[in-house]
């Protein structure tokens, strides 16, 4: 604690305390010789749980911090370390943090928020382009100072507290934390989901903008982020889209850089217009339908037919538009709109196209994408089901999305999620052409979810033979199908290899012969040779398979060369 009136480093007289941070205190000081005021931020070593991390972050970058010059950043002129604290000497920023402004005045005018957003983008872009780059990690209204009387001035906000950007490393999983403390932390800041990058800052900025423009704190009840125009219909749809893109759970779906975000912020009105155009299209469609249905009521079958063919035409046009659209988000929206055309919610085409898009976009089926398709299908389930085969096909394809592409790295989750959809496909229709495949997937998925429990209870005997048959069937029909995507084929080969490596003795006990197992090995080898991987991801998979089937052969030979009871050799594996 600095004593008021004391002299720090022979230069700075401490005038008064001006604020508390989570782990620090800020003082107003004066350099008496130069007659200039500064702020000193004191980070106390005993007040910080993980001081080493803070210190490391600070000391390493001290020189760098001193070099930072940006109109929206306070300049740091000195960093002094003494026995029990670290003192950062910087510009004294007069004004009020935006958190206080929100408290006092509530939601802020949109134009102002967009102006601030651009400045924040600019300063983040500046930090991100330093060498080495600085990730701020803690964007929130409390860290943005609004200078008094600064309206209209480009420098009217200042990002504070960035000297401690490193304080917020990945959170420790074992520790319970409270939303109130961690602010707007992005999913990847909780660890286990990849690095924090510039996209982490974009996420926090998105939540900050949301809070500023709606007045609703996303970390307070009801904790849900709603589209901003549901809270205030007069807000811009362009801004709504921008915020939604910033706060996607998956960093890959957010803006990839501050420049990209800045561009959209500068053009948010254009995004508005694009949206308005689509709305107009929708409205026309609606009016048309109203007229048509009125016609139908008035008199006849002919009108109904016209209405129908009109809806058909509109549907095809929209599907067409979606296909040619190149922007991913717009494409998704267009397909969604297809399902909103009256009488067309039951048509499978848009759903299947969306599923294809999710596959092809980046070969990863994300949680957001899963939300989108599930919401659509669930909302329209009843009408889709009027075409049982179509419904079965949609369910089957969603099942495959989860099975082969889902972003969750936990295989069990992927399989359990897909089994539900395969089962839906099975119960939807008896005539669906892929019914057999759906059953195979469902059984294999169920096998995996049950096997861990059953192994422990030692009641797993007899489960392996049917499992082997199912894997063999998948292998025969899908792995050799040249129309199937390479990811699907390779994933399947990998699954088969895994099974052979993991369960050879179990297969043996259940009566699968060595010849049958070896035959599967050969098939895998043959199939994998026929695929020439075209991406890094599939190349990696392919390499993995090659090393796996070599191992599989060895495991099979070992399993059959010994006469010991199977469970003693590889019990429980």
């Amino acid at each position: 604690m600095l004593e008021i009136g004391s002299l720090v480093d022979g230069k700075y007289r401490v005038l008064r305390e001006v604020g508390h941070g989570g782990m620090s205190v800020v003082y107003l000081v004066i350099n008496e010789k130069a007659n200039k005021t500064w702020a000193i931020k004191e980070v106390r070593k005993n007040g910080v749980m993980d001081f080493e991390a803070v210190e490391q972050g600070l000391i390493v970058e001290t020189e760098l911090l001193k070099k930072l010059r940006h109109p929206n950043l306070p300049s740091i002129i000195d960093v002094i370390e003494n026995e029990d604290s670290l003192l950062i000497v910087m510009d004294y920023i007069e004004g009020k943090p935006l958190s206080k402004v929100l408290e006092e005045y509530g939601a802020q005018p949109q134009d102002l928020v967009i102006k601030w957003a651009k400045q924040l983008c600019d300063v983040l872009a500046y930090l991100h382009t330093r060498e080495p780059k600085i990730i701020y990690r803690d964007m929130k209204p409390a860290n943005i100072m609004l200078r008094p009387g600064g309206h209209g001035d480009e420098k009217d906000i200042t990002l504070i507290d960035f000297g401690a950007a490193r304080e917020f490393k990945e959170k420790n999983l074992a520790d319970t934390m409270c939303l109130g403390t961690i602010g707007y932390a992005a999913p990847e800041q909780f660890g286990g989901m990849g690095q924090t990058t510039e996209r982490t800052d974009i996420y926090c900025l998105g939540k900050t903008l949301y809070h500023l423009v709606t007045g609703c704190n996303p970390s307070e009840p009801p904790y849900v982020i709603r589209p901003i125009r549901e809270i205030n219909p007069s807000l811009s749809s362009g801004l709504e889209k921008i915020i939604e893109k910033c706060i996607k759970d998956n960093p890959d779906e957010r803006y990839q850089s501050c420049e990209e975000l800045l561009y959209d912020l500068e053009n948010y009105k254009t995004i508005d217009e694009k949206y308005a155009r689509k709305q107009k299209f929708k409205l026309t469609a609606f009016i048309l339908t109203v007229i048509m249905s009125a016609g139908f009521l008035a008199g006849g079958f002919a009108f109904d037919k016209t209405a129908k063919s009109n809806a058909d035409k509109q549907y095809l046009e929209l599907i067409d538009e979606a296909e040619t659209e190149t922007n991913y988000d717009d494409k998704v929206d267009l397909y969604k709109e297809c399902t909103e055309i009256p009488n067309k919610a039951g048509d499978k085409a848009a759903y299947l196209a969306l599923i294809d898009l999710f596959k092809e976009n980046d070969a990863v089926f994300t949680k957001d994408e899963a939300d989108t398709i599930i919401k659509l299908v669930k909302t329209n389930e009843e009408v889709i089901r009027s075409d049982p085969d179509g419904y079965a096909e949609i369910c089957f394809e969603i099942g495959k999305l989860y099975w082969y592409y889902y972003s969750d790295t936990n295989e069990l989750t992927r399989r359990t999620s897909s089994v539900k959809w395969f089962n839906d496909a099975i119960s939807a229709s008896d005539n669906y052409k892929q019914l057999g495949m759906a059953k195979v997937y469902s059984r294999i998925g169920t096998f995996y979810s049950e096997i861990s429990v059953n192994t422990i209870e030692a009641s797993d005997k007899g489960l392996y033979k049917p499992f082997f048959a199912d894997v063999a069937e998948l292998l025969d029909s899908v792995a050799v199908d040249p129309d199937e995507s390479e990811i699907v084929r390779l994933e399947l080969l990998k699954l088969s290899c895994d099974a052979l490596v993991t369960y050879p003795t179990k297969f043996k006990t259940d009566g699968v012969t060595e010849e049958e197992l070896m035959e599967m090995c050969d098939k895998i080898q043959l199939a994998s040779e026929s695929i020439s991987p075209s991406t890094d991801q599939t190349k990696k998979l392919s390499d993995e398979i090659i090393s796996l089937y070599v191992k599989a052969k060895e495991e099979i030979q070992t399993a059959f060369s010994t006469n010991m009871p199977a469970d003693d050799v590889k019990g429980g594996s």
Partner: protein, 255 residues
């Protein structure tokens, strides 16, 4: 109605301090025996988690000692309890926040508490500690105030995804680190021959509801000694399964 009570807490395998606090007491009153139990799971560096949990326990125990007799004498309803307990939670939130701000630290605590009369139970909850009613099965009376539990309720993720989600220990609110605290309150009829159980999250992550029922079903909770033994057994089971957190539990047997 009669009550037998028991409580146990364990520092666990990893942590250097036990930041859980708990208290359970039985009062003889004009409306018969009454039990008040409260359990808090503190968080924050060094000793601050203990300060947070202990001070909330103290505030509630003070209420039970001084205010509860007045309420019993005057007669009270669900809304009276809701108002008074919410006031204490909100008040403690401001006090702990001020304490933290003064020292430049973050601290906070969960809260679950129950008041049992022979007629009715009254439960308050903030965070992810829980209160259970165990009669013919283990039923959770409280609702976890966590990010993942909310997402499960909203259909955004499944129970299975929640169990492995990196955000699983993020609380929506806690006493001491939230801008505003809005506790959940639950009321119902007290069941005779049942067990009411309060626990910190460390007690329930590694063991199943079936295991909880197996040890804590009323038929296996016939004396204070037996109850204590069963509590210790489940705490050990948690540790065998590598639970890293502090582990605390209170049980109350009605008969």
């Amino acid at each position: 109605m009669e009550f037998i009570v028991s409580a146990s807490t364990d520092i666990g395998l990893v942590k250097s301090t036990n930041q859980d606090s708990l208290n359970v007491r039985v009062y003889s009153t004009s409306i018969g025996k009454v039990v008040f139990a409260v359990l808090c799971d503190g968080m924050g560096g060094l000793e601050s988690g203990e300060i947070a949990s202990a001070s909330v326990i103290n505030a509630f125990c003070k209420w039970a000692d001084f205010r509860l007799p007045q309420l019993i004498a005057a007669g009270f309803g669900d809304q009276d309890i809701k108002r008074e307990w919410t006031d204490i939670a909100v008040d403690m939130n401001s006090k702990l926040k001020a304490h933290g701000a003064m020292r430049g630290i973050n601290l906070g605590t969960t809260l679950t508490a129950i008041l049992l009369t022979s007629e009715r139970y009254y439960v308050i909850n903030v965070g992810d500690s829980r209160t259970y009613e165990i009669a013919d099965r283990a039923e959770v009376l409280t609702q976890d105030q966590t990010v993942v539990a909310m997402e499960v309720r909203n259909g955004i993720i499944t129970e299975e995804q929640a169990a492995v989600d990196p955000r699983r220990s993020v609380l929506l609110q806690c006493i001491g680190a939230s801008e505003t605290v809005v506790p959940d309150l639950f009321f119902g009829q007290t069941v005779q021959n049942a067990v009411y159980m309060l626990c910190s999250d460390g007690f329930r992550h590694e063991i199943t509801p079936e295991e909880i029922y197996g040890s804590f079903c009323p038929g296996n909770m016939l004396s204070a000694e037996q109850m204590k033994q069963n509590e210790l057994y489940l705490i050990e089971l948690n540790k065998q399964r590598s639970e890293r957190d502090n582990i605390s539990v209170i049980t109350i047997r009605t008969y």
